[in-house]
Symmetry: C2
Subunit: 185 residues, 2 copies
DNA sequence: GTAGAGTCCTTGAAAGTTGAACATCAATCC
DNA sequence: GGATTGATGTTCAACTTTCAAGGACTCTAC
């Protein structure tokens, strides 16, 4: 239970961990509040729209969408069902593999995303990046990439990073410049 | 929509943001999976138990518990109700203010926490800290603290950092060394 | 004292997530 | 071919979280 037991977190790690937990909790709360208020959707749904918007053809297989958003198939299925009901996404069977379903961003969905993006980005800036130096931004990326490398090797670690990358690659190889390579992060 | 618009994220920020989102998603998934499997509770509930365990008297007012865990009162209320049903937490009215409720960790709750902690800490280590250098751990803390400073000034930003600190201070001023100053993070 | 405003917590319903079935289709292997 | 295994999505039930409402109490200022 003391901090020199290698199994436990030492003081620096413990403080970093607590700060990280607090930061993530407040940040996600702020994002959800802003998006729910201004766009009527939670952050998770916004991410689905954003990911679709960045990909050629503005469409992805459901499972690739799950991989790219680091979420479960079940979650994406529910999310897309809701987004489809709102008219922001359309679902259609895949041509080559009849098990697959393609989710496609509608024009209306893209418009909603475009109108929501500035407020969202402002929220991210205000709550995170505006308080960081350039060095800290770079360090943050390095830290997260290191963690991602670590977690990608895990067994039941869920959707992997490579899977997401592969998904984008696969999608990109199809439509070349079908448009929509924007970044409404 | 281009990256030199000051309202948008530049390339470095965008990559850091995406890495952060992915990291947090995978990390929380891993923590929830581990704790659900080994202790039968989600990470949010574990945090409630852990916070209680670190405080003198192993008890806190509900609102302080909410502040310290960066969550809403409603959330904590539901969580404690569940934990109470499991026999891990007990609720009793506060002496000085009859609006308040004190949540107290039971012996059984502490035992569950003790048995769950090693696995949890191992999970945190494996998925995060073991992949980071000492400099990165320190940088992470600096980054999160900077973000927390920024978010604490926000209007509807929910429970603040100071509030949490004050909660611990308040709790500490009471029971001095009532025991339980462990760190089962 | 007491009216009004603010604090503290709980509750119930709605929204979102999860994990376990399940159904469908593809790929592999005799 | 036909059986087996694996991949892909959806759905159900259980669970967690959020939101809005409300009950109980305290504090302040007349």
């Amino acid at each position: 239970m003391t901090s020199d037991d290698p199994r436990w977190l030492d003081d620096g790690e413990y403080r970093a961990w607590r700060s990280l937990l607090a930061t993530v909790a407040l940040l996600e709360a702020a994002l959800d509040r802003q998006l729910q208020r201004d766009a009527g959707m939670p952050h998770a749904y916004y991410q689905v729209l954003a990911m679709l918007s960045e990909v050629p053809g503005r469409s992805l297989r459901m499972s690739d969408l799950a991989a790219i958003t680091q979420s479960s198939q079940s979650r994406v299925s529910h999310a897309v069902a809701k987004l489809e009901a709102a008219g922001w996404v359309r679902r259609r069977p895949a041509r080559d593999d009849r098990r697959s379903t393609i989710a496609e961003l509608t024009a209306e969905g893209f418009a909603v995303l475009e109108s929501a993006a500035p407020g969202h980005v402002a929220c991210v800036r205000e709550n995170l990046f505006d308080g960081l130096t350039r060095q800290q931004v770079d360090a943050l990326r390095g830290i997260c990439d290191a963690a991602l490398d670590r977690m990608s090797g895990q067994p039941g670690a869920g959707p992997l990073r490579e899977a997401a990358a592969a998904a984008v690659r696969a999608a990109s190889s199809g439509g070349a410049t079908a448009g929509g390579a924007e970044r409404l992060a």
